[in-house]
Structure formats: structure tokens, C-alpha cells
């Protein structure tokens, strides 16, 4: 799974000095549920790796183990050449974590929140003020520094939450669903900062289930599905290797027989793989009974179609299947693109 110059020895130990994160054969079970089933994943210094997968794919478990918050059942996790599973202070000093759930002290100011976590991350008190100002500017929270955490809006909290992870310029940044519930402006700030941090030589493991966000970010990606990495590479390469355009026909009533190779019926929709969509439409449209068709769409290849090709399942459907019960029942509002 490694990129370019990385080589992995048989015993799973890393042999490449440019490697910031090395995961090999990582397994974790919760009772009978196998959350991770032998995950192999690397991230180089300066690389953004988007960890993709629907709800329940194992992303948060993976990030939590790398951050030292959960214990692995077996496997190897190295951060900057050090054993991360021993959860030493040296490893944690190199890691910045923004967990999925927002975390800050609501009764004290944003500045005090940043001061506490900056001090604990090892930033010297003499440097801390300048560093807080720098990160605050990057995430547009300078005006919020003297407000209490509990007084902020959801998007503002998300920015402060992310800022906490960046104060000590971590060598490995772990962002778990960093933009969930964030407004467009917040999302833009976070993504820009992720790019800057990577440009400065840090590795970023960016867990998300928003595929279009990753396409925008132009990062490398790893698909996690049922606790396994099923694809890894640059987004463009993944799309080129695993996806092609699809012509989608939507019918008003019963779907008539469409005698075209590869056509798949899903409810009132028919999807037809189409390397040349125009040619496919010219072939198909004459076979459709008059008045039966309500819409035609050419679906460009994307990470979503990569997931469909690799797993045979639509990404949004898998996402709903893996969502917590309250999300399925609509009890909790979930922001989607």
C-alpha cells in the first residue's frame, strides 16, 4: 500500500526514512464485530491521505488507535519511526488529533482552551501566544479568542476544535471527520490549513465520508471498507483505474427491458456503464418506449463510482447502513453535501 519509495519488510517494520505513519496488519475487534481486519496503510511526510469509507467502515477506530486512545488487538503502528502502540509521550508529541466529536471547555475562553492544550503539547509558554495568534488567523477565529467556548456557533466550535490539534505543528495530523456539520466557510478554512500543513512537511490522515471533499482536496486516498483497505492511491489514479462514466435512465413507471450489456436496474433507474456516453445514448434511446423516460443523466466517474465498482454497493446506501440507529431514524440531523 505504500507509495513510491516505501518498502515494507516481511515482519512489518518500516524501512523508509520518509515514512511518517506506518500501519501493518492492524486488527481490532469489539466483541464479535471485527472493526479492523489487517489494515496496512502508510503516509509519507508531506502527504495528505484521505481515509474514506461509509459510516461503520472502521475509520474512527483506526484514527483512535494511531492516536493512542484505543488498544489494538494486533499489528504494527509506527509514527515517525516510533512504536505508537506503546503510547509514549514522544509519539504523542508528534501527533495532533481533532477527534470526531467536538471537544473544548465551554466555560473558559477559546484562548484558555488553546493555552491548555498548547502547553500540554509541549509548546513553550514564550512561544505559545504567537502560535495561538498564528493558528487563530489561519482558521479565522482571532475575534473569538476571548469568548467562551460555549458561546460559539457550531462552525466556530469546529474551527477551534481543529485549531487545538495544530498548535504544536504536529508531524502527523489526524483529522477525524473534521468537517462534519461545518458550514462552507469553515470547511474552506480547514481544508486550506490541511494543505498548508502538508506543504510544511507534515503527514495528514484525513478521515471523512464526504467523497466530493476529497476530490476537491486533490489528495491521495485510501478506501476502508468493513475494516480493510480495499484501494489506495492518488484520487485521479483510483478513478482512472476503477471507474468509468455511467448513463443513468430514470423511468416514470415500470422499467422496460433494455437489451444493453451491463445495464443494471435499481428501482426505476437503469444504470449503464458507458466509456462513450454519447454513443451509448444513441444506442439506447431508440429502444425506450415513447413517454416512458422521465430523466437522463450522464454520471461522470468519481470516487463514488470507484466505491461502487469495488464493492458493488452505492456509497450513500452503505453510509446509511453503517450509520448509528438514531441517524437512520432521523433523530439526529446529519449534514451532507
Amino acid at each position: 500500500m505504500g507509495l513510491g519509495r516505501t518498502r515494507i519488510a516481511v515482519d512489518g517494520l518500516r524501512v523508509d526514512d520518509g515514512l511518517m505513519l506506518h500501519i501493518y496488519g492492524l486488527c481490532k475487534a469489539y466483541g464479535r464485530l471485527q472493526a479492523l481486519q489487517g489494515v496496512d496503510l502508510d503516509a509519507q511526510a508531506g502527504e495528505i491521505v484521505a481515509l474514506l469509507g461509509p459510516n461503520g467502515a472502521g475509520k474512527t477506530t483506526l484514527v483512535s488507535i494511531v492516536a493512542g486512545l484505543r488498544k489494538a488487538d494486533s499489528g504494527v503502528v509506527e509514527v515517525d519511526g516510533m512504536d505508537a502502540l506503546r503510547r509514549s509521550a514522544d509519539v504523542r508529541r508528534r501527533i495532533g488529533l481533532a477527534p470526531q466529536d467536538l471537544g473544548m471547555y465551554p466555560v473558559v475562553s477559546v484562548r484558555h482552551n488553546l493555552q491548555l492544550f498548547g502547553e500540554l503539547a509541549g509548546v513553550r509558554r514564550t512561544e505559545l501566544k504567537a502560535r495561538i495568534d498564528e493558528v487563530a488567523e489561519g482558521l479565522a477565529i482571532t475575534d473569538l479568542l476571548d469568548r467562551k467556548g460555549g458561546e460559539l456557533s457550531g462552525g466556530q466550535k469546529r474551527r477551534v476544535h481543529t485549531a487545538i490539534a495544530l498548535l504544536h505543528r504536529p508531524r502527523l495530523l489526524l483529522l477525524d471527520e473534521a468537517t462534519t456539520g461545518a458550514d462552507v466557510e469553515t470547511r474552506g478554512h480547514i481544508l486550506e490549513l490541511v494543505r498548508e500543513l502538508a506543504a510544511g512537511g507534515s503527514a495528514v490522515l484525513y478521515s471523512t465520508h464526504y467523497l466530493t471533499e476529497v476530490e476537491t482536496l486533490g489528495s491521495n486516498a485510501a478506501f476502508l471498507d468493513h475494516g480493510r483497505v480495499i484501494a489506495r492511491g492518488a484520487v485521479r489514479e483510483l478513478i482512472a483505474a476503477h471507474a468509468e462514466p455511467v448513463v443513468e435512465l430514470v423511468f416514470e413507471g415500470d422499467v422496460p427491458p433494455i437489451p444493453v450489456r451491463g445495464a443494471a436496474v435499481d428501482g426505476q433507474r437503469v444504470r449503464i456503464p458507458a466509456p462513450d456516453p454519447a454513443a451509448t445514448l444513441v444506442e439506447v434511446i431508440p429502444q425506450v418506449p415513447p413517454g416512458a423516460l422521465s430523466a437522463v443523466e450522464i454520471v461522470r466517474p468519481s470516487l463514488e463510482s470507484v466505491y461502487l465498482t469495488l464493492t458493488g454497493r452505492r456509497y450513500d446506501e452503505a453510509d446509511r447502513e453503517g450509520a448509528p440507529d438514531e441517524e437512520k431514524e432521523g433523530k439526529r440531523s446529519v449534514t451532507t453535501q
Binding site: G68, K71, A89, G103, M104, V108, L120
Partner: protein
């Protein structure tokens, strides 16, 4: 262990505490009210024991101080549950601060509050209630400090074995109350039933009351309170050891609030 990390957490906890000082004010003000109410009752008990000149504050002040200090053992645990509720627990754990750093930084404010609470009551006991300390004030301070440590250690033990805020409140407050009652902070041990008198020495509150009584009524100095100090330190060490054994930093705790 990193003292720097513990101090950073300690400062932060004091800052959080300062945003809502009502709990601290309550645990200092209420015992003063209770002393005023119960002083006469204890005066009779002490005169029966042969302390002819006693005005009741000699028992009421340390008794209410110990009672309310024990009643607040859950506060140390509250800060752990609160961090789970605020999503800051995992953030703390992901920092280079070790488990011991976090534990020490979170418990020391409770130790400090308990110590201040005891100190304020003994200091105001003279001008408000006519309390006369016939022994050493240093011994009184030493007993207060060790009691604060032992009770905070008990608070950690309660935190380690409870999973929800309701459990913490129930076990912390009833456990603290039972510890105060059976230790002789509500009524003198000599007036309790035989079975309770057998149990009493198994509690740090008993040794605190014995030490305070010796200093206030019998003129004891630092050396004379060595036994109660060592006993309370022993209980503190025992509670700490059990808390460390039972505490699971990776377990989630359920916070309501």
C-alpha cells in the same frame, strides 16, 4: 510524571472552578451555619465528658469541617465525568500528558479546596464561635492536609468504580456521608452503638476527629498526632492503589449535564 503537565491541568481546573464558585462557597458557608445550630448540643456532650469549660465549638467545628469535607468527595470525580461530557477527555489523553499527570492535575484542586475549607472553618471558629485551640496550629494544619489527601483519594476510588454521573453522585455522597457519620463527625464515637465503634477506626474520618480533638481539647502537638496522620496517610495510599488498579482511562463515562 511531568510536573509541568500536572501544573498546567491544575491551573486550568482552578480556572474552570472559578467560573462557578458556588460549590466552594457552599461547602465553606454551610458548615458555619451548622456549627451555629449544633454548638449548644455538643457543649452538653463535652461537659458530660468532663470538659467543664467547653462551649461546644471544640467538637462542632471539626465535626462539621470533616463532615462536609467527606460529603464532597465526589467533586474530584465530577471533573473526570465532566470532561467526558465536554469531549475533552480524549483530547487530554491524546496529549503527551501521562495518565498520572492528568490524575494529579485533576485531583490536586479538590485537595486544595478541601484544605482551604478546613482552614477557613478552624480560622473563623475562634472569632465566630469562641473556639480555643489549646494545642499546635501546625498539627491542625498537618491533620487537615492529610485528611484532604485521603478524602480526595477516596473520591478517585469512587470515580474509578462508577460509570455514570448518577452512580458517582449516589456512591460519592452516600459514601461520604456514611464515612462522616461512622467516623464520629456527627456524634461522638463514644455515643455510637458497639458495632459502629468497632467499624469507626477503619475510616480516615475517625482518625481526623481523634487528631483534631487531641489538638483542640488536649493540647497535642505535631508529634502527638503522628498516629492519626499515619493512619490517614495509609488509608489515602490504599484508596489510591485501588483507584489506580481499577481506573480504566480508555473507558467512557456517562455525564449528564
Amino acid at each position: 510524571m511531568s510536573l509541568r503537565n500536572s501544573l498546567a491541568i491544575l491551573r486550568h481546573e482552578l480556572r474552570v472552578m472559578w467560573t462557578d464558585p458556588s460549590t466552594v462557597i457552599f461547602v465553606i458557608a454551610m458548615p458555619l451555619v451548622m456549627v451555629a445550630l449544633m454548638k449548644q448540643l455538643f457543649a452538653l456532650a463535652l461537659r458530660d465528658e468532663g470538659f467543664a469549660g467547653a462551649n461546644g465549638s471544640e467538637f462542632a467545628v471539626p465535626a462539621m469541617a470533616v463532615g462536609f469535607a467527606a460529603f464532597g468527595v465526589g467533586y474530584a470525580g465530577f471533573t473526570f465525568f465532566r470532561d467526558h461530557g465536554w469531549g475533552t477527555w480524549d483530547r487530554l489523553r491524546a496529549t503527551p500528558a501521562s495518565s498520572v499527570d492528568i490524575m494529579v492535575g485533576k485531583v490536586l484542586p479538590t485537595v486544595a479546596v478541601t484544605f482551604v475549607q478546613l482552614g477557613v472553618l478552624f480560622t473563623l471558629g475562634g472569632p465566630l464561635f469562641g473556639l480555643r485551640v489549646s494545642g499546635s496550629w501546625v498539627a491542625l494544619g498537618l491533620l487537615s492536609a492529610v485528611l484532604a489527601l485521603a478524602l480526595s483519594a477516596f473520591g478517585m476510588l469512587v470515580t474509578a468504580i462508577t460509570r455514570t454521573m448518577n452512580q458517582l453522585n449516589a456512591v460519592g455522597s452516600t459514601g461520604g456521608m456514611a464515612m462522616a457519620m461512622l467516623g464520629g463527625a456527627w456524634v461522638p464515637v463514644a455515643t455510637m452503638p458497639g458495632w459502629a465503634q468497632v467499624i469507626a477506626p477503619a475510616l480516615p474520618t475517625y482518625w481526623a476527629m481523634e487528631g483534631f480533638r487531641d489538638v483542640i481539647l488536649a493540647g497535642a502537638g505535631v508529634r502527638s498526632v503522628a498516629t492519626p496522620v499515619l493512619a490517614m496517610a495509609g488509608f489515602g495510599a490504599l484508596y489510591t492503589a485501588i483507584a489506580a488498579w481499577r481506573f480504566r482511562f480508555e473507558d467512557s463515562k456517562v455525564y449528564y449535564g
